[in-house]
């Protein structure tokens, strides 16, 4: 009995010591990402054709539109320390490092980056979509992400392209609520990830770089970074101004035709524009 007591005390002391140490000096903590999907500054409310509550936006061309469905894939996340060191977050593991943001599911708008080394961070980079070398619908390799993307209420697969959909937007435009349906994804063929071998197709993956307005400090606290995705840019982007149903855009994009215009608006053109519709709304330490 005596021995047991002794041991219990020791274990207790040890746990206290360990927890103290953790409290005082963590080596890593979370970064909480929150995605706020908006039309300009208004958070989007989804709705069907006749909805009176859906957020309605007007394009630069004066075309009103609203969405009934809004989803996109975020992957290849990297956070950059003040000194320039990049901390990749499971960038080659879709199960642990990629997610489908779905405006219809509130919990999908928050994504926690776990185990980020303590320090000060000045920048975040991520991909809109899935980079080519992972965009193969490999169920055996990434069963979690495959299941999440393929779920009946998500449908983020482009089966014929044997890849994921990167964005899926359903909605209505003009005052008579004509159907709008814009899907993006990649159709590149070649040795995955090796651009020199690409023989055909379009890569709809876009790498996003966002500088933080103030340093995010990972330490005792986990910072929260709110990323704004302004879908006003879909039709009225930095790269293209699109008039739906006009000469330059069919309102239903389910193939690579016309797709790149939307991709460049949403995710930037990869050269002069590396942010597309994304910006940092706030950093809370």
């Amino acid at each position: 009995m005596n021995t047991l007591k002794k041991y219990s005390f020791l274990i207790l002391a040890l746990s206290v010591f360990v927890s103290c140490k953790k409290d005082k000096d963590p080596v890593a903590n979370n970064i909480n990402l929150h995605f706020n999907n908006t039309f300009k500054d208004k958070t989007i409310v989804l709705g069907d054709a006749a909805s009176s509550t859906a957020t309605v936006n007007a394009s630069a061309n004066g075309q009103v539109h609203h969405f009934s469905e809004l989803k996109y894939v975020i992957s290849n996340i990297r956070v950059i320390k003040a000194d320039g060191t990049a901390i990749p977050y499971n960038i080659n593991n879709l199960d642990e490092g990629a997610t489908v943001i779905n405006q219809a599911k509130a919990q999908s708008l928050d994504y926690v980056l776990g185990n980020i080394p303590v320090g000060e961070y000045k920048q975040i980079k991520f991909g809109l979509g899935v980079k080519a070398d992972l965009n193969t619908l490999n169920e055996a390799k990434f069963p979690k992400f495959y299941a999440a993307a393929g779920a009946n209420d998500t449908k983020m697969m482009w089966e014929w392209g044997a890849g994921y959909r990167f964005t899926k937007i359903e909605g209505f435009y003009d005052t008579d609520n004509k159907t709008l349906s814009i899907h993006t994804g990649s159709t590149v063929e070649g040795t995955n990830g090796d651009e020199a071998t690409y023989t055909q197709g379009v890569d709809a993956y876009r790498d996003i770089t966002l500088s933080l307005p103030k340093l995010a400090v990972v330490g005792k606290n986990a910072p929260k970074i709110t990323i704004k995705a302004d879908f006003d840019k879909l039709l009225s982007g930095k790269t293209n101004t699109i008039a739906l149903g006009g000469d330059n855009a069919v309102p239903s994009v389910h193939t690579a035709v016309n797709m790149v215009k939307y991709v460049d608006n949403l995710g930037g053109n990869g050269t002069s524009d590396l942010s597309g519709m994304f910006s940092i709304a706030s950093v809370k330490n």
């Binding site: 619908l137 490999n138 169920e139 055996a140 069963p143 495959y146 393929g150 697969m157 089966e159 014929w160 392209g161 044997a162 349906s181 159709t187 063929e189 023989t199 055909q200 197709g201 379009v202 069919v250 239903s252 994009v253 389910h254 193939t255 690579a256 035709v257 016309n258 797709m259 790149v260």
Partner: protein, 339 residues
């Protein structure tokens, strides 16, 4: 000490005996099958270099090709749409998948795939190994997933034997499914039609077939060239348009406006068995196709220049049409379709 040595020796001996008894050494003997390349055919697709058909790989692929467990509700196999009697196509207007779901396009025949550079109507795939997954997961086709398929067949003793013979161990893996089905498809070579025998073995065309061949050379061969009877290019020939927003022809893949509603020129081998015709089965018969070309096709900015130069049509007399169809029927390979 002696005792221990003795015991150890005894144990080793016993152990060795036992091992020999249960695991008779598996001799991995799976010879490559050399593909017979018919005279005048184009060169092999490069993908074959990395996936050479083997005796058991092909056997395994054939079994998988005919297995309805590849579909979610075990009703549809590859062979349900790709029927041998129809040159591994079928006679439906558009493909029919599980629960009677209608696909986007007409089922293409699976023949002479080893010599093709592009697969599908839009050339979305350049290697058969990458195509296998597509029908398995497509909602309108098999609506399954590759792990679902693996789960269903992994304990099947016949498959275990075949996977072992084909790949050295009995693990049922996705890549092995892709590779073996592709291997089987590489062996589906059709080159024993009357046309081939006329060319190589001195058989004679009938008068109508001979006239048809001459007319074919003038009116059809610019696109349906080579011994495959396709130049494997993508062209907009002004056929009636598929109204689905999923359809853009070659542009679905390339994204280029210039490729809008361009489709891969289909081979005419075994065309007799693959009605209806066109990317979504627009034409019930070969005569319908020729009548349409004769009358006039739909105009488009990217309509094929050959048609544009001829006033958006291919003028054909009634006699020419009959004769061309007679000739096309000489491309039928009865051995290949098992008729």
């Amino acid at each position: 000490m002696k005792k221990i040595v003795f015991l150890t020796a005894l144990f080793c001996t016993l152990y060795a005996c036992k091992r020999d008894d249960i695991a008779a050494p598996f001799k991995f003997d799976n010879p490559e099958i050399s593909l017979k390349i018919p005279e005048g055919f184009p060169t092999l697709n490069n993908a074959i270099e990395n996936n050479k058909p083997t005796k058991y790989g092909v056997q395994l692929g054939e079994k998988l090709f005919h297995d309805t467990r590849l579909s979610a509700n075990n009703t549809v196999s590859c062979a349900s749409c790709h029927k041998q009697g129809n040159a591994f196509a079928d006679n439906n207007i558009q493909a029919l998948g599980i629960e009677g779901r209608v696909g986007l396009r007409n089922v293409p025949p699976i023949q002479n795939m080893a010599f093709m550079k592009f697969y599908n109507w839009d050339g979305a795939k350049l290697a058969l190994e990458n195509q296998v997954l597509v029908p398995i997961i497509t909602h309108e086709e098999m609506n399954s997933s590759i792990l679902e398929v693996v789960d269903k067949i992994k304990n099947d003793s016949e498959y275990k034997v075949l996977f072992k013979k084909a790949f050295g161990d009995d693990a049922v893996k996705q890549e092995r499914i892709y590779r073996s089905i592709a291997q089987y498809e590489y062996t589906l070579i059709s080159a024993n039609s009357k046309y081939d025998r006329v060319k190589l073995k001195g058989e004679q065309f009938t008068e109508s077939e001979a006239r048809g061949y001459q007319a074919f050379k003038v009116k059809c061969e610019s696109c349906h060239s080579t011994e495959l009877f396709t130049d494997q290019s993508f062209r907009n020939v002004g056929f009636p348009l598929n109204p689905s927003t999923e359809e853009a022809g070659r542009a679905r893949v390339s994204g280029a406006e210039a490729d809008f509603m361009r489709f891969r020129v289909p081979s005419l081998r075994n065309a007799e068995y693959t009605a209806p015709y066109g990317s979504f089965g627009q034409f019930a018969t070969l005569m319908d196709v020729l009548d349409y070309f004769d009358k006039s096709v739909l105009d488009a900015d990217n309509l094929d220049p050959i048609l544009k130069q001829n006033g958006n049509r291919i003028p054909l007399s009634a006699q020419e049409k009959q004769d061309i169809i007679s000739f096309i029927k000489t491309l039928s390979d009865k051995d290949f379709v098992g008729r």
